[in-house]
Each structure stands twice: as structure tokens, then as C-alpha cells.
């Protein structure tokens, strides 16, 4: 199936929800599921999803489960098995940390707090990663620290098909300001969890960059808890790898916090890039914004975005918006886009979602060329402009430049 051209928009403000009383009583939870799935049981609330540290609680997925139905589970067998990291002749992945002195702490064993206080595995991949990561890399940005350079964790896969398990714990102290870049290169079957604790008033940006080689596979659960008045930004950039599936989840531990979950992906022929986000508005007066943008080209390029937002009954004054936009450049691609919005209180600032999948087609090309712009330039103009909205949010000039170049290389491949 080629992607259908769809546009869906909704904006729900407190006064416009029919049936909601001012006291917020007698509320029904509004569930929006635009996937039009048939024969699949949809849970009544995202909050009911199982989380556990016990591998036995998660059966191997068949591909029919709600959270796996878009994923090529058969190709993920190695990553979903309860398997230790391959160590011989060298570890399946090498980790290099670049951070100011004292930021890198002693690794955390399973159960050693703060490990496990924010991230509880929510699917089979995350639980086997958690169970098989004996030591979690622990980075602490001290309170009020403002490191001049971004902190970096480089994950380099030593070879395709080799199983790697990882768990990172990132702590941003109160009122600190920092950027952490987690960059993935090389190839491996990498299962990586990232647990993020954002202290009160802190500002933390976590950028997960997937520049894997073509034969890498990567599953990950990135969970964050955002403190009072803190600002958290998570940016997922997925360009490389044969299969990448990242879950970026956030909840709050105080009022006045903001979370922004951003993503950029560019799928080529045969590539599966899947991003799922979940914002749990469990505290009042928090803000969230989710924006994922993707481009697709080539036969069987497949992208998935599933964006869940839950506004709990006590989360008065919530302001939330989520949007996914896909740009289909050639025939034979598939873009799945599913926004799910659950609202349990009417006393909110606003909640909205939008999803659109558009084609760059001959009429666009004709319009731009009719203004003197050569075909190649026209194509670049459209894709670069489309993805730039995310790239410019990174605000690390050297990384922005590298990613712009990486996108250009993807574009050049369109025409080969």
C-alpha cells in the first residue's frame, strides 16, 4: 500500500468539549484513535499498559499486539530474546562518554536507585534490555551546572547481528542547563534503555541520533520524569539502521513543567523506522508538545509514528499538542501515523493533535520548475525545508550541520 494522503486536525479546548461540566465531573474519557484498525483489541486507556522488571511478564510478541502491530517482529527475534550482550571477541558495542570531570558516576546495578525509579520496562524489548544490562551508565549533571559543551555518549556497534544491551541513567540536577547527545554508529542488534530524571527548574535536552550502518537494528525505551518548573526536550533523529524502534515517554513530578518530544526520520528502501511517544499528564499545569516529521523514499520504506497523550483527571490546566507529518517522495512507501488522545478532565488549556501525510508529486515539481527552479534544486528545497523544522531545534551547530549533510546524502540517494 502506498501512503494515503491524509490530513487530520483537531484542537480541543476546555470550553468546547461537549458534556464536560465546569466542576469536571461526569467526565468521559475521550479516546481518539485514527488508525481505523479492525479486529485489534484497543486498551481502554494507555495508563493500563503493563510495565514490569520481570522478563516472564512479557511474552514474545507475535505482531498482532497493539504495540507491535506495525513492527517486523520476526526480524527482531534476536533483540527480543532474553540474551546477554555478546562479548567475544569484543563487546557488541563500545561506549564512549565525553563529559566534564565528575559527571560520570559508578555504574548502577539493577535495582540500585535511581536506576529503575523512572523507567519500568513497558515491552519485551525494554525488559530484556533491562534484565541483561548489569551495569547502567550513570551521568549526573550537578545542580545549577551549565556545562559549556554538550555531553556525549557514543555507542558504536561492533558488528551486525551481535546482541547489545544497554541502560543509561541521566540525571539533571535542580536548575542545571545541559544537552546530552547519545549517538549511535556502526552496527549491532542494540537494545538500549535511557532513563532520565530532570530535577526541579532544570533544563535538559536529550538528543538520540541514529546514524547506524544499514544492517543495524535498534530498539529502545527512553523514559523521563520532569520535575517542577523543569523543561525537558527529547529529540530522536533516525536516519540509519535497517530497523529502529524508539519509545519516548515522559511524565511529570511537579507542576509548571514542560516537555517537548521531537523527532526526525528519513526512511529509504526496506528501512523500518518507528517512533512512539507517550506523554502522561499526571500533574496539573504542565505543557507538552510533540512533533515528529519524516520523509520516505524507495520500495518498502516504512515509518510508524504512534503518539499517545493522556491527560489525567488531576492534570488541570494542561496544555498539550501533538503532530506528525510525513512527506512521501516516491511510490512504494508506507507511513503509518496514529495520534491517540485521552482526556479525563475538561479543565485544561488545550489538547490537540494533527497528522498529515503528503506526497511530493509532479504538480509540486511543476510549480517550482515553472518558477525557474531546476528539478534537483526543487526536490532538495522541499525535503530540506520540511525536515529543517526539527533540525533547527537541536541548537548544537556542529550537530545541526552534520545532520543537514546526512539528510542531503539521503536526498542524493533518491535519484540513484
Amino acid at each position: 500500500m502506498t501512503a494515503e494522503i491524509t490530513t487530520e486536525k483537531a484542537r480541543i479546548g476546555a470550553p468546547s468539549i461537549a458534556g464536560f461540566t465546569e466542576e469536571g465531573e461526569g467526565l468521559v474519557s475521550a479516546k481518539v484513535d485514527h488508525s481505523h484498525n479492525h479486529g485489534v483489541t484497543v486498551m481502554s486507556s494507555r495508563a493500563e499498559r503493563l510495565t514490569s522488571f520481570d522478563v516472564a511478564d512479557f511474552a514474545l510478541p507475535t505482531g498482532r499486539e497493539e504495540e507491535w502491530r506495525f513492527s517486523p517482529v520476526r526480524a527482531l527475534a534476536n533483540l527480543l530474546s532474553d540474551t546477554a550482550t555478546a562479548l567475544d571477541p569484543e563487546p557488541a558495542a563500545a561506549f564512549t562518554v565525553d563529559a566534564p570531570e565528575g559527571y560520570l558516576r559508578t555504574p548502577l546495578a539493577p535495582g540500585a536507585a535511581p536506576r529503575g525509579t523512572v523507567l519500568t520496562p513497558a515491552d519485551r524489548a525494554a525488559v530484556v534490555a533491562s534484565a541483561n544490562a548489569d551495569e547502567a551508565l550513570h551521568l549526573v549533571i550537578p545542580a545549577e551546572a551549565e556545562p559549556a559543551e554538550p555531553l556525549r555518549i557514543l555507542v558504536h556497534g561492533a558488528g551486525a547481528g551481535r546482541r547489545s544491551n544497554a541502560h543509561f541513567v541521566l540525571e539533571a540536577g535542580a536548575n542545571s542547563r545541559s544537552v546530552v547527545i547519545v549517538e549511535h554508529t556502526g552496527a549491532a542488534d542494540h537494545n538500549g534503555n535511557v532513563e532520565v530524571i530532570v530535577g526541579e527548574g532544570a533544563k535538559l535536552t536529550v538528543i538520540s541520533v541514529q546514524l547506524w550502518e544499514d544492517d543495524a537494528k535498534h530498539l529502545g525505551q527512553h523514559d523521563a520524569q520532569v520535575g517542577k518548573d523543569a523543561v525537558y526536550k527529547h529529540i530522536a533523529v533516525s536516519l540509519g539502521g535497517s530497523i529502529v524502534r524508539l519509545n519516548s515517554n515522559v511524565r511529570f513530578s511537579g507542576e509548571g513543567a514542560e516537555a517537548e518530544l521531537l523527532g526526525l526520520y528519513y526512511a529509504d528502501a526496506g528501512q523500518h523506522l518507528e517512533h512512539r511517544s507517550f506523554v502522561d499528564h499526571n500533574e496539573p499545569n504542565c505543557k507538552s508538545n510533540v512533533l515528529y516529521k519524516g520523509a520516505l523514499q524507495g520500495k518498502n520504506a516504512h515509518t510508524v509514528w504512534v503518539g499517545d497523550v493522556l491527560i489525567q483527571k488531576q492534570a488541570l490546566g494542561t496544555d498539550s499538542y501533538e503532530k506528525n507529518q510525513n512527506l512521501v517522495l516516491t511510490d512504494g512507501c508506507r507511513a503509518d501515523s496514529v495520534p491517540n488522545l485521552e482526556i479525563e478532565t475538561g479543565l485544561i488549556e488545550g489538547a490537540g493533535h494533527a497528522s498529515s501525510t503528503g506526497r511530493f508529486d509532479d504538480e509540486h515539481l511543476f510549480y517550482l520548475m515553472a518558477r525557474g527552479i531546476p528539478e534537483e534544486v526543487a526536490r532538495r528545497l522541499v525535503v530540506r525545508g520540511f525536515l529543517n523544522e526539527i533540525i533547527q531545534q537541536i541548537k548544537v551547530p556542529a550537530l545541526e550541520e552534520r545532520l543537514t549533510e546526512a539528510v542531503e546524502r539521503e536526498l542524493a540517494a533518491t535519484n540513484s
Binding site: Q325, L327, G358, F360, D362, E363, H364, F366, Y367, L368, M369, A370, R371, G372, I373, P374, E375, V377, L381, V382, V383, R384, G385, F386, L387, N388
Partner: protein, 265 residues
Amino acid sequence: MSTLEIKDLHVSIDTEQGTKEILKGVSLTIRTGETHAIMGPNGSGKSTLASTIAGHPRYNVTGGTITLDGEDVLAMSVDERARAGLFLAMQYPVEVPGVTMTNFLRTAKTAIDGQAPALRTWTKDVKAAMQQLRIDADFAQRNVNEGFSGGEKKRVEILQLELFKPKFAVLDETDSGLDVDALKIVSEGVNRAHAEGKMGTMLITHYTRILRYIKPEFVHVFVDGQVVEEGGPELADRLEEEGYDRYAKGAGAASIAAAAAAAQA
């Protein structure tokens, strides 16, 4: 002084029922400074002529020539035609995702002129042109035509006309769907571009009302893929009174030929 010359142009399109001939021998010459109105009922081939001049891939030229100062336009790609000085204000401008107006206008201007415009004067020119066409300043940061109303899209077409300064402008039903105020604004834009004295204009329209604001020297009536009558502005006045009925198929080829002969006499 430039000349756009269309000679015995035959154009067909591929349909499910096979090839269909739309233009059946059209000849027309436009020079710098002239305004030609192409009028005719729906389906007469007016828009086909416009799109063919611009090089839309849907239209196959099966005979005849189009030349710009002697250069073979039909041998040029779409972007080459624009760079050679042809501009088509489209009837249904498409929305281009991901490209802001600012970026688009600068990229197009650079392509057409062969060099980037001087940044300071360019920004000023764009702002001034937008103001004259009553286009909100925030449109500059929006994606090309995305979410614009029909009238806004037409104004943005004329904005480009004013900024790109083509040798020949083809306006494909730019007046359709405009209210009177918008029609005036758009017409003023065309007249400003024309007043610079370096442009020839082909104004394609179904209705005569735009001719109250843009004055053509020549009027050509299109019926069934051919020019059936030509004349001066007075022909447009007659059309306003009588409509296209007298060119209807029932009127017969003989009377059309007679009318054409009368017009040429």
C-alpha cells in the same frame, strides 16, 4: 522588444478513452507591451494553451511551434522556459509542503536571474510588493500556498509576477473566484508590472469583468481549440452583452467562419 509567437499549435492529452486533441491549430503573436485577452467558454482549450506554453507534462504538442524571440520554447524544459522569461500565473496554484514563501521566492529569483538578489534590496522589494497586494507579512514565513484561500493564492501568483519580471506573463483565469476587492488588487498588480514596459501579457479569462481593470489591445475568442474570432477591446464588450452563445455548436461552422472573416475585415 520581445516576441512570443505561437504557430498552428496542436495539443492533445491522453485520456482513458484514448488521445484527445484539445488545441486544433492555434496561432497567436504577442509582443512586449501588448495585452491579449483570450476569451472563451469552459472547455474551449484556453487553459491548455497556458499550460502548454509553461510546459506542463500532461500536454503533448503534436504539431506547430512556440518561439520566444526565435528560440524554440518547446525544446526547453519547464524551468528553462521560466528562466527564458515566461511566467504562468496558475489557475490552481498547488501547496508546496516544507518550503517557506521567503525561501521559495529567493530561490526562484536566483534561478531566474542566474545570481542571488542583493539581500537588502530584495527583502525590501518583497515587503513592498506584498504590501501593495495586501498580503499579510506573516505569509512570508508560511509554506508556499499552504492554507491560503483561493484569493490569497491568486495574489501570491501576482506577487511572483511582480518580483520575477518576466518577458511574457500568461494569466490563467487569475480572476476566477475573486471578489471585487481582490480582483482590483490583483489587476493593479498586473497593471504595475505591465507599466514597466518590458512585459507582454496573455490574459486568459472566461468573464469580461477583469477587463474593466486590465485593458487588452487584442481580444481572441477561443472555441473548441481554435481561435474563431479576433478583434480589439470592442469584441469583449460584445461578448459581455451576447455571451458565447453565438459561437455554440448549433451556430454552425459557417457562421463562425463568417464571424471570423467579418472580424478580420
